[in-house]
């Protein structure tokens, strides 16, 4: 089968061209051995099915980062196959620097075709490009396109069979590029555009920082409200009113052994305390996590597509640099205030393992997730606001200390920020949906089996009495160290399933204020919740997951132990 590789610099609209070329059936996967994602789809040319690959963005074929390494590898793999065509997507507003990649591609001697994208924007900026002359100089077809509106896509598709090995331009590259630019491009006077004014506003600290805070707050609010309403008004009723009764009927009619029924349905038909493979198992990923993720992915894709993320990273870099991470870490950390699962998935924006680990520790420890925070507030607020400050302040400072220590332990310097700030672009809504859906599908495919497996494992441990044993032998000394009464043991075990509920379960236990403060901090820190646990394992690797979990447990233990000694009983 024929193969087409879509290549080009980042931010040139390559993905939009990709989805214009391919239909609805696209898949994303990681390039083997890396965290770099690429998308694959199919198109039809002259009645023949052709595979189209959206290669990760690259400025050059002399790699300067992992994405570029992957791009080069994919190019080399493809060049070994017969019938492989390269389409380079060029940003017409930045012809000069895009030509570096063109010259490199030409020297690879593969059939090449150029999509001169953002054609409308170039015109708007007063840039005129004589694309026929460019075609003559390079010796390959050049098609002007406006991917967002679909202009030129038909012509591009028609020209694919005409792609050819172009001329190999042998001179010094900047001389060659300079010569080409002189011949094909004219720039006339241009006006300040709205997008440029918006850019200035959002990137200068005086206006940009307040705007960034507002935008982050809105994202946070939407994720929370959207996720909550989807759970409460749609998914939870469907689950409890339709799915559970249906399931109960089927299981009751079957004559399964009691032991099996217990594993499938849990101790009681109550997804959050029963621990059943068919009740708790699907409830956690589909009813609790899915809605937050859906809203989050939609917003993340939107911010990404309009080009806001690089600006946010730049604005917050100063602060996060001091913690040993990049400005890009701000997105996951702030999301962590809402729900840890989307926050962890957002760490994919980070390129290096060290940053990922530090960011994960920060986002896990800086604050409880939102439902948990709400519970802590409702439990402790009646005793006085200063105790709330104590709980949240301690968590915050603890996370800063831990991240500072981690940045010393995991060696390597904090990279300086270096990234292109693309102009603001109009989002394409159909693409937004597609992207969101692809990401959700990815989550469901990867996390659901893990969560089901986890529920199964824990229920086996519970039935076989292992959890009770742990509670007896580890629980008592633990509670003694932290000054908590024995009845909190059960709460600590359920906390693993869903942490906000665990804190709510403290309410009927008649704890003293001191015990409440300690229990809240401990329950926030001691372990990630079930879904977080497995998603973290997937994102960081199981070894690093254990490291982060150990750090959480140890710091939770020590802080609570000290608190127990320092706070006078109230």
């Amino acid at each position: 089968m024929k193969k087409i590789l879509l290549m080009g610099n980042p931010n040139v609209g390559k993905s939009v061209i990709f989805s214009r070329l391919t239909g609805t059936y696209v898949i994303t996967s990681n390039y083997p051995g890396t965290t770099v994602e690429f998308t694959k789809g199919y198109t039809e040319i002259n009645g023949e099915k052709v595979e189209v690959i959206d290669v990760p963005g690259a400025y050059t074929l002399e790699p300067t980062n992992t994405a570029e390494e992957v791009a080069v590898k994919m190019l080399e793999e493809a060049s070994r196959e017969k019938d492989c065509t390269i389409i380079q997507v060029i940003d017409a507003t930045n012809l000069e620097r895009n030509l570096i990649l063109t010259l490199q591609l030409l020297s690879r001697n593969l059939p090449l075709l150029i999509a001169l994208n953002l054609w409308d924007e170039a015109k708007h900026l007063g840039i005129q490009i004589d694309f026929q002359k460019l075609e003559a100089i390079l010796g390959v077809p050049v098609v002007p396109t406006v991917a967002i509106t679909g202009e030129g896509i038909k012509e591009l598709k028609e020209k694919i069979p005409e792609a050819k090995k172009g001329k190999c331009l042998m001179g010094e590259k900047w001389q060659e590029i300079g010569r080409i630019i002189d011949e094909v491009q004219k720039v006339s006077h241009r006006h300040h555009t709205f997008s440029e004014k918006l850019n200035d506003l959002t990137i200068r600290p005086a206006t940009g920082l307040p705007l960034a805070l507002i935008i982050l707050y809105l994202v946070f609010l939407f994720v929370r409200l959207g996720g909550e309403s989807l759970t409460t008004y749609l998914l939870d009723p469907i689950f409890n009113k339709l799915y559970l009764p249906f399931l109960a009927r089927i299981i009751n009619q079957s004559s399964l052994p009691k032991f099996l029924v217990r594993i499938l349905l849990g101790e009681k038909m109550e997804p959050l305390s029963g621990l059943g493979l068919l009740t708790t198992g699907p409830y956690i990923p589909f009813v609790i996590v899915f809605p937050y993720l859906f809203v989050f992915y939609l917003l993340l894709s939107l911010l990404e597509d309009i080009g806001y993320l690089p600006r946010l990273a730049t604005l917050l870099d100063t602060f996060f640099h001091r913690l040993g991470v990049h400005g890009y870490s701000s997105v996951p950390i702030i999301l962590g205030f809402g729900c840890k699962v989307p926050a962890l998935l957002a760490t994919r924006l980070l390129e290096r393992k060290r940053e990922k680990i530090i960011t994960t520790a920060l986002l896990m420890m800086m604050a409880p997730c939102l439902p948990q925070s709400a519970m802590i507030v409702s439990l402790i607020a009646p005793h006085g606001t200063k105790y709330l400050f104590l709980v949240f302040g301690l968590l915050f400072f603890l996370s800063l200390i831990v991240s500072f220590l981690l940045s010393k332990i995991f060696r390597g310097e904090t990279l300086e920020l270096f990234l292109e700030i693309p102009p603001y672009r109009r989002p394409v809504f159909s693409l937004l949906w597609q992207k969101t859906w692809l990401r959700l599908k990815g989550f469901l495919k990867e996390a659901v089996p893990l969560i089901l497996g986890g529920v199964f494992l824990i229920s086996i441990l519970e039935i076989s009495g292992v959890i009770d044993l742990i509670g007896k032998f580890l629980g008592k000394p633990l509670l003694y160290l932290l000054g908590l009464p024995e009845r909190t043991i059960g709460v600590i075990t359920t906390g693993f399933l869903r942490k906000d509920v665990s804190i709510a379960l403290l309410a009927p236990l008649n704890l003293t204020l001191k015990q409440l403060v300690i229990a809240s901090i401990f329950l926030t820190l001691y372990l990630p919740c079930l879904s977080t646990f497995f998603v973290m394992g997937k994102e960081l690797g199981w070894e690093n997951l254990l490291k982060v979990a150990a750090i959480q447990l140890l710091s939770g233990l020590s802080v609570c132990f000290i608190l127990n000694q320092v706070l006078s009983g109230t």
């Binding site: 050059t60 930045n94 000069e96 200035d200 990137i203 600290p205 870099d317 292109e420 700030i421």
Partner: protein, 77 residues
Amino acid sequence: MRRIDLTQMKENEKGIIVELLGGCGFLRRLEVLGIRKGKEVKKISKQVLGGPVIIQVGNTQVALGCGMARKIIVEIK
């Protein structure tokens, strides 16, 4: 004519890149974004407290850390 580095430029000031200090890898990363000797650069903004600097070369805007910005020397007319 003043010779200064990017961190010393004022917002909206323009200059011509005359010297790039630093290793080959650094130069290559700059080059592919169109930042090289002889190009005109305009400073878009600086972040507070030693944060990254934002510049524009051609139609490309780039944010770069202070350490990197100090290695790019420009001449201001």
